[in-house]
Symmetry: C2
Subunit: 226 residues, 2 copies
């Protein structure tokens, strides 16, 4: 059974690459920087988007939300008066555990692309498959919570290796956890020595200014800061 499946995944990934290139061409035509944001369920992607986009001046940002079903995160972003569209992977896509280039493409016409400098795609919460599907993005970033344990870079190396920025969230909880931050950073360095790391707390605001700066410079295409 798995032999058949692997063959089909390869076909799907080839088609994905073709559609990702078409997305890339559209993003370039609109002069838009696109960030693919990934994490486990509940690591805090939406909370960090709310914190980072609130007060982000000089950048016209939009958000494309990916969820299996519902529009809870999109509703939260909409409260910031930022253009947002929702992709439900349940409807028409079979309940997929990730976004692919085709799903992203289907959501683009719900956004005013001509009016955006920066589009953030909030992927489905999952540390495996989202890293396997390029969507035509400029940058891939991830959120990891200190509540998830130090071993996650070793158990999900493809995800941690795919990202150039790792937001280590919920650092306000560190005093209440048996989490060894140095050991986590050591594991992260082992799988992705070049990754930029930001220690943040969406709850207290720690590190949010640096995260907002990253969004600002990324939207300017100032890759030197990444």
């Amino acid at each position: 059974m798995h032999r058949i499946k692997v063959k089909v995944v390869e076909d799907a990934l080839d088609a994905n690459a073709t559609i990702a290139r078409a997305n890339r061409d559209d993003f370039d035509r609109h002069g838009m920087t696109v960030v693919n944001m990934m994490s486990s369920p509940g690591a805090g992607k939406t909370a960090l988007l709310e914190a980072g986009l609130r007060g982000l001046e000089g950048v016209r940002a939009g958000v494309l939300e990916g969820d299996v079903q519902g529009s809870y995160d999109a509703d939260r972003i909409a409260h910031l008066h930022i253009p947002v569209a929702q992709i439900q992977t349940q409807n028409g896509f079979g309940g997929e555990c990730h976004l692919d280039a085709n799903m992203v493409r289907s959501g683009l016409n719900a956004l005013p692309l001509d009016l955006l400098d920066l589009l953030i795609v909030e992927n489905v919460g999952n540390l495996v498959c989202p890293a396997e599907f390029r969507i035509g993005e400029d940058k891939r970033i991830m959120v990891t919570s200190v509540t998830e344990g130090e071993d996650k870079p070793l158990k999900y190396p493809l995800m941690f290796r795919a990202c150039e920025l790792v937001l280590v969230n919920k650092i306000d909880l560190l005093p209440h956890l048996d989490f060894d931050l140095d050991l986590f950073l050591h594991h992260l360095d082992a799988v992705n020595p070049g990754a930029r790391k930001l220690l943040v707390s969406a709850r207290t605001g720690d590190g949010v200014e640096e995260w907002r700066e990253w969004l600002y410079y990324t939207a300017q295409g100032a890759k030197a800061t990444a």
Copy 2:
């Protein structure tokens, strides 16, 4: 592209059902109760297994660990001197984000099935796909951490609906979170009113005695207590 994919998933699920039935027959022949344990990455499946299996008297338990790669969790369980085998979904299975019946079958001959009353299969950390693949188990259970937010039953209803026991873990962190436990339980009731819920902390031991009792009575096949 997604049309082709949906077709193949249906074929794969049919094959999965066939192999799950074969697993089921084997489990029955060995007089073994099998539990499929699921959660997000880092919710605490392994920590709760360590806590619950330590001191579980009168039950001969074994564990089958599923991970994309590595054997970190299996090594932790092995320290308890409990039979454990590791399935790596990376090797030969294409890096799958879940276990299916075939993967479980491939791991069974690494365990002394004749000597076990209870087999716990610790699935890959993921709230989407593991719920879609039966493995021939008696019971499906899940761990959710209070750090993941109240909205998870609404965003991942298939997973929360699939399970008859929901372990709500890390309750020692409640004083430090903006987590509304009543709202979470309300959302859980909305998608799965019949689920049994246990509030636990693998760190402090809160609720672990009840979790161990659940394991004991499940191994006895005392379904009335579930």
